[in-house]
């Protein structure tokens, strides 16, 4: 255990960094997830280092692990779960709009002159009536700029 967990943590973080540097969106997201797993294990190790006596109100035979790093990890897991979900939706949307999951191609794609609004079904734009209509565009066009 003393050697295994640090190895696993560093392996996960290393794999995560490798994947984050790759060019496919889905690998990038997996990389971010791996980094957060590795970090969680690293925090667990930070709490394992010292053996503690029984907690103040309990009279159980010790030694005990410090429970606080586990609470930290729990918080971190919840947050990384939510942000990974957001990142997946973002990647899916980027793929739907641009048709590519390659980071470089995505970055090279020029900005459209007008904002593009893509609806799943062009016949029925998914906008509620209180907002306005699809024809509600200010007059005038935008010239070329750099």
């Amino acid at each position: 255990m003393e050697l295994l967990l640090p190895l696993v943590a560093s392996l996960l973080i290393g794999a995560g960094v490798f994947l984050v540097l790759s060019r496919a969106l889905i690998r990038l997201i997996l990389g971010v997830a791996f980094i957060s797993y590795g970090v969680n294990i690293a925090i667990l190790l930070a709490g394992e280092g010292e053996r503690h006596d029984a907690p103040p109100l309990l009279q159980l035979p010790g030694p005990h692990n410090d429970p606080l790093p586990q609470a930290l990890i729990l918080t971190a897991i919840v947050i990384s779960f939510a942000t990974t979900a957001l990142l997946l939706v973002l990647a899916l949307r980027a793929y739907q709009v641009t048709g590519t999951d390659h980071v470089q191609e995505l970055a090279d794609r020029p900005d459209p002159a007008r904002p593009v609004v893509v609806y799943a079904d062009p016949e029925y734009p998914s906008v509620s009536p209180e907002i306005g209509t699809a024809n509600d565009v200010d007059a005038g066009g935008e010239g070329a700029d750099t």
Binding site: V20, L25, L28, V32, I35, S36, V39, A42, I43, A46, G47, G49, E50, R51, H52, D53, P55, D66, L68, P69, L72, T75, A76, I79, S80, A82, T83, L86, L87, L90, R93, A94, V97, T98, L106, A107, R109, D111, P112, R114, P115, V116, V117, V118, V127, E130, I131, G132, T133, A134, D136, V137, D138, A139, G140, G141, E142, G143, D145, T146
Partner: protein
């Protein structure tokens, strides 16, 4: 109930209420009401701190090292008040700008959809995260506050789903997720090594621990995280392209406040938690000089309104970090005054950019708009003077004090950063002069008369008035900065207020 929790709870409540309000006009009213209430609450927090008090609230009455403390000293008070004034202005501006097209020729539809799908609610959650970052006295709680702030900012950056938003949003989200992973790792290791997460307690224990390379490494890790958030060179490459993509009000608040939260965390790390890390402070000072130059060069190079302003923001971050890490009390005082100046001036310039984009599109190469829009020109003129640091604006006061402090500190590094500051000022002057020449000055090619919504112009005018007030009341505000800088030097009052001496003895093995 302690007044310290209000700046965190009110935006949370406001955001939750805004999620269920259906009508757009009602949403605007509710958002403005909550932003006003938050501003009043932060005034109630800030005023005692300006008199030198340190306010503390122990959550659930757990004594200091065990529970989470909310702490407000002078630094927190200044930033809390400044950011909440801008929050109110942002809410009013967004209420107006989200009803109209973002740029000339754009569609109002998308902005109205943003409004309908929770832009105002996300803004409130963003304010909650920012206020919590300024108030918390706990390292892990700071991480949580950063996450609240960042998740709200992801939402605001992506809401609308345009191609630039998706592209830049992806970059922004990935950079911030990696930085957050490092932050949580650093927090865990600080706990593992030092045995506490309470900032004041960390300060005591680090001082007792003595010099240790592991502590330096932890401080370096935290510096890496916060420098990424603050967009210090070379970690700030994500900022200049991502801040111009959300709607105008949002990007103005992002640029004015979010990067300063990173600077705030850097100041807290190196004055309170890990004081006396001379080598790291010198590295940050050197990077600050490079940050200024990089920002100013980028500002000269870009042809789009908000891109140029985003680079100007990077340059002002460089000034802030240079002052804060000059290592002297005078430098810190100059940095604090410049912080207020920078927050407001960047806000003004982004609002002016938003109005100009509405008039003539995203590029500023349009010529001859001064005749048709003299007041916009006046607002830009004041903002540009304050950005470059020319008298009689507040930017001059801040930069003059900063240069004085850097030169007084002595040493080749300080002198080098002072030279970089002067060169940056000249480059920024060139950048704003070019915008002035190409957008306001000259023969009009084709000036479009676009009606500017009253809410947008009123907020811009109010922000310019704030900027002028900062110059007019430079004396009292500068004295306040000096007092706060004195408080940050050693942080004795902060530590004494948080760690009450007659707290029950610590249980456990430490």
């Amino acid at each position: 109930m302690n007044v310290l929790v209000l700046p965190v709870l009110l935006p949370l409540l406001g955001g939750s209420v805004l999620l269920v309000v259906r009508r757009s006009a009602a949403r605007r009213g509710v958002a403005t009401a909550f932003a006003t209430a938050t501003l009043l609450a932060s005034l109630a927090v800030a005023l005692p701190t300006f008199r030198g008090q340190v306010l503390v609230a122990q959550m659930a009455s757990w004594a200091a090292p065990f529970g989470i403390s909310l702490v407000a000293d002078g630094l927190s008070g200044m930033l809390l008040l400044g950011s909440n004034v801008l929050a109110l202005l942002t809410v009013v501006f967004a209420g107006s700008s989200l009803q109209h097209a973002p740029v000339r020729g754009g569609s109002a539809l998308l902005n109205r959809a943003r409004d309908a799908f929770g832009a105002q609610a996300l803004l409130q959650f963003l304010f909650m995260g920012v206020n919590m970052s300024f108030l918390t006295g706990d390292l892990f709680n700071l991480f949580v506050a950063f996450e609240v702030m960042l998740v709200a900012s992801y939402g605001l950056l992506l809401l609308g789903g345009e191609l630039p938003q998706l592209r830049e949003g992806l970059r922004y989200v990935v950079i911030n997720l990696v930085a957050s992973s490092l932050f949580v790792a650093a927090a865990g290791m600080v706990y593992g090594l030092i045995g506490s997460l309470n900032m004041a307690d960390i300060a005591e224990r680090v001082a007792a621990h003595g010099a240790d390379v592991r502590i330096t490494l932890l401080a370096a890790l935290l510096a890496l995280v916060f420098a990424t958030k603050a967009a210090v060179f070379p970690l700030g490459f994500w900022l200049p392209n991502s801040y111009p993509v959300p709607p105008a009000a949002v990007s103005a608040y992002f640029a004015a406040v979010l990067t300063k939260v990173g600077v705030y965390a850097l100041i807290r790390t190196f004055t309170l938690m890990f004081a006396g890390q001379g080598a790291l402070v010198a590295v940050l000072l050197a990077l600050a000089g490079v940050t200024m130059l990089a920002g100013a060069l980028g500002s000269v190079a870009r042809r789009r309104w908000r891109h140029a302003m985003a680079f100007a923001n990077v340059a002002s971050i460089g000034y802030l970090v240079a002052g804060a890490f000059a290592g002297t009390r005078a430098g810190m005082a100059a940095a604090l005054y410049y912080l207020l100046n920078s927050v407001i001036v960047i806000f003004v310039l982004f609002l002016v950019a938003a109005l100009a984009e509405r008039i003539a599109g995203r590029s500023y190469r349009r010529h001859g708009h001064l005749g048709a829009y003299p007041w916009l020109g006046a607002g830009f003129f004041v903002g540009a003077l304050a950005l470059t640091g020319l008298p009689p604006t507040s930017g001059f006061v801040g930069k003059f004090a900063l240069l004085q402090a850097l030169l007084a500190a002595g040493g080749p590094l300080h002198a080098g950063v002072a030279v970089a500051a002067v060169v940056t000022g000249l480059l920024l002057l060139y950048a704003v002069m070019r915008i002035w020449r190409e957008f306001f000055w000259g023969e009009a090619d084709a000036v479009h008369r676009v009606a500017i919504p009253r809410g947008m112009s009123a907020v811009t005018a109010a922000a310019v008035v704030l900027l002028l007030a900062l110059a007019l009341f430079a004396g009292p505000i500068y004295r306040l900065s000096e007092r706060v800088a004195g408080q940050l030097d050693g942080n004795a009052a902060y530590r004494a207020a948080v760690l009450v001496p007659d707290a029950p003895p610590r249980e456990g093995a430490h």
